[in-house]
């Protein structure tokens, strides 16, 4: 692993963002829209029910923390797709750059962009609704870390399809992570899901984090067992996703990377 090359690729995506207004604006635009629309909806519902802010905070925490998974996944798949769109993938792999270095650069760039996007959303949620993410204290780090890992795992699984089949499947680059959102119990407890869906939700790592977040909001207690289960599941899925991504990349290289552009 050569860190100079990893950093070169991180700078490549930073530079890409600087040139591309839509990639810069998506850091702020959608989180802001979501916070306005769903935050106000939550505020209205809270006023209707019992004037308690707890339900509003459930929705706000869902919005803010889901952003982490979505952003982590999105930055992997869109960075990969940008190499296809720029017809640059062949150039990259004729340099000493390795697949591992490229993958790490996706993760670092995604991490940096997620921090930026999360800081913006958290600030907005505080200013608009008085929702302070620092209420979670140091547990914020565990939540953030686990949700990033889930996003990366989904990102590499979706990326595996893209790297093997190219741009014809590019729609999943944006929407891939949406598949796990109904089962992640972002805005509602797992118990409201149908029985079959609860079984699926039990093997999704983000479910445990959103359950832990809600538990903290309602009971002010931290459920470390949920955080640990999430971490173990994330470790397994991310390992599988990375192995699968490498496998699909090798399959693709057999046919020639030139066909991806």
């Amino acid at each position: 692993m050569n860190l100079n090359r990893v950093w070169a690729m991180v700078l490549r995506y930073v530079c890409n963002m600087r040139h591309s207004l839509d990639r810069l604006s998506d850091m702020f635009y959608w989180p802001a829209i979501d916070l306005f629309v769903w935050g106000l909806t939550g505020l209205y519902l809270a006023q209707l029910i019992n004037k308690s802010h707890q339900y509003l905070f459930v929705i706000l925490s869902g919005l803010v923390f889901w952003l982490i998974i979505w952003r982590a996944q999105y930055e992997i798949t869109i960075s990969l797709l940008s190499e296809f769109w720029d017809r640059n993938i062949v150039n990259l792999f004729t340099t000493p750059l390795t697949l591992s270095e490229l993958m790490v650069s996706f993760m670092i760039f995604g991490f940096l962009k997620t921090i930026g996007s999360l800081a913006f959303s958290a600030t907005l949620a505080y200013l608009l609704y008085g929702f302070n993410v620092f209420y979670f204290g140091w547990n914020l780090v565990w939540f953030f870390m686990n949700l990033m890992l889930t996003g990366w795992a989904v990102g590499f699984l979706v990326g595996s399809v893209l790297v093997r089949y190219g741009q014809k499947f590019q729609a999943i680059g944006w929407a891939g992570v949406a598949l796990i959102s109904p089962f992640s119990a972002i805005y509602y407890p797992v118990s409201v899901l149908p029985h079959w869906a609860q079984k699926i939700s039990a093997v999704i790592p983000s479910t445990y984090i959103f359950e832990a977040i809600r538990e903290m909001l309602f009971t002010h207690k931290v459920s470390y067992d949920k955080i640990w289960i999430s971490f173990i599941l994330n470790f397994i899925y991310l390992t599988i996703a990375i192995i699968f991504f490498r496998y699909m990349f090798d399959k693709s290289r057999k046919l020639g990377l030139g066909r991806l552009v």
């Binding site: 050569n2 100079n4 090359r5 950093w7 070169a8 690729m9 700078l11 490549r12 530079c15 890409n16 040139h19 591309s20 940008s82 769109w85 720029d86 017809r87 640059n88 062949v90 150039n91 990259l92 792999f93 004729t94 340099t95 000493p96 750059l97 390795t98 090798d250 290289r253 057999k254 046919l255 020639g256 990377l257 030139g258 552009v261």
Partner: protein, 310 residues
């Protein structure tokens, strides 16, 4: 001289299901040598180059760079070689400077800024260094690809149509640059081009591919010599009856195009033919001798069913 070989390819084959794109190809390039790889469209040149660069995996066969197995020593090898092709692209929104800086970082080029400025000036694109890639003309893009290809002081460079889309004056400068690089740094080159005059000028040795196979390999001069027929063009402004009578009598094959008579003749018989004209007192206003070129040979190979030039 085994240690003189920078690229050694043995029995390289690429199959896509039942289709054989490259069939048992073996070639080698010595240090400082410029090898031409020619062939019609679909001959397997691009597939070969992709395998040589490691962006496509061969079905069988081996590739060795500098005596080391590829892609086992992929990183070490790729840091010493580079490539340029007009069939690739670059980050669309990036400026020339940003593109070259990205690749300079990936190749870990020392003193990046200085090297980039030197190459931008060398390829006469320094003034447009702040221009975005998407704004460049085809010729400017080609020059950028070449600048990228020389960033890491490569010991071997794969050039796929290096002067395509270039104005003739720039193409001449690029060829001069390539020759200079070769003489100063002993850089080896694998060269594909559809410009046969360029291949004749640049390459010491040429490999001809057709349908995935090597069908011939020699110096450009020797390949051209495989075509025995030459042409002598005679321009007679006033009356060419005497000449036509002579040609008919001697059973020469010829074509008449207005005042120009084009006589097909073996290269070794040209001097005898010209001497006969002199002794027969046939006066010509202009004489042109067209010897077979690499292009003639290439066209014959491309047009022949089995690639048999004899």
């Amino acid at each position: 001289m085994k240690n003189d070989i920078v690229l050694d390819v043995k029995h390289l084959t690429k199959k896509f299901s039942d289709f054989i794109a490259v069939d048992d190809l073996s070639l080698s390039i010595r240090q400082g040598e410029v090898l031409g790889l020619l062939g019609p469209n679909g001959a397997g040149k691009t597939t070969t180059i992709q395998m040589l660069l490691g962006v496509m995996e061969q079905t069988s066969g081996s590739i060795e760079y500098f005596g080391k197995e590829f892609p086992k020593y992929r990183q070490e090898t790729l840091s010493m070689i580079n490539f340029s092709s007009t069939y690739i692209s670059m980050p669309w929104e990036f400026t020339l400077e940003e593109i070259l800086m990205l690749y300079a970082r990936l190749y870990e080029v020392p003193d990046k800024k200085k090297r980039i400025d030197k190459l931008l000036k060398e390829f006469e694109i320094y003034d447009m260094r702040k221009k975005q890639f998407k704004m460049l003309s085809a010729g400017e893009k080609t020059r950028l690809f070449l600048a990228k290809a020389f960033l890491n002081y490569p010991k071997l460079i794969l050039l796929d149509e290096p002067t395509a889309s270039l104005d003739p004056d720039i193409a001449v400068k690029i060829r001069e640059f390539l020759k200079r690089e070769r003489s100063e740094y002993n850089t080896s080159m694998l060269f594909t081009s559809h410009n046969m005059a360029e291949v004749e000028e640049m390459c010491e040795r040429v490999i001809i591919m057709k349908s995935g196979k090597i069908i011939d390999e020699d110096t450009p001069e020797n390949l051209a010599k495989k075509i025995k027929g030459a042409h002598v063009e005679l321009l007679i402004i006033k009356d060419h009856t005497k000449l036509l009578d002579f040609l008919d009598k001697q059973k020469y094959l010829y074509e008449v195009d207005n005042r120009t008579i084009r006589v097909a003749i073996d290269e070794q018989n040209i001097s005898g033919f010209l001497h006969s004209l002199f002794t027969e007192k046939i006066k010509c206003d202009e004489i042109n001798i067209n010897k077979p070129t690499l292009e003639d040979y290439f066209l014959q190979v491309v047009n022949s069913e089995k690639g048999d030039t004899q």
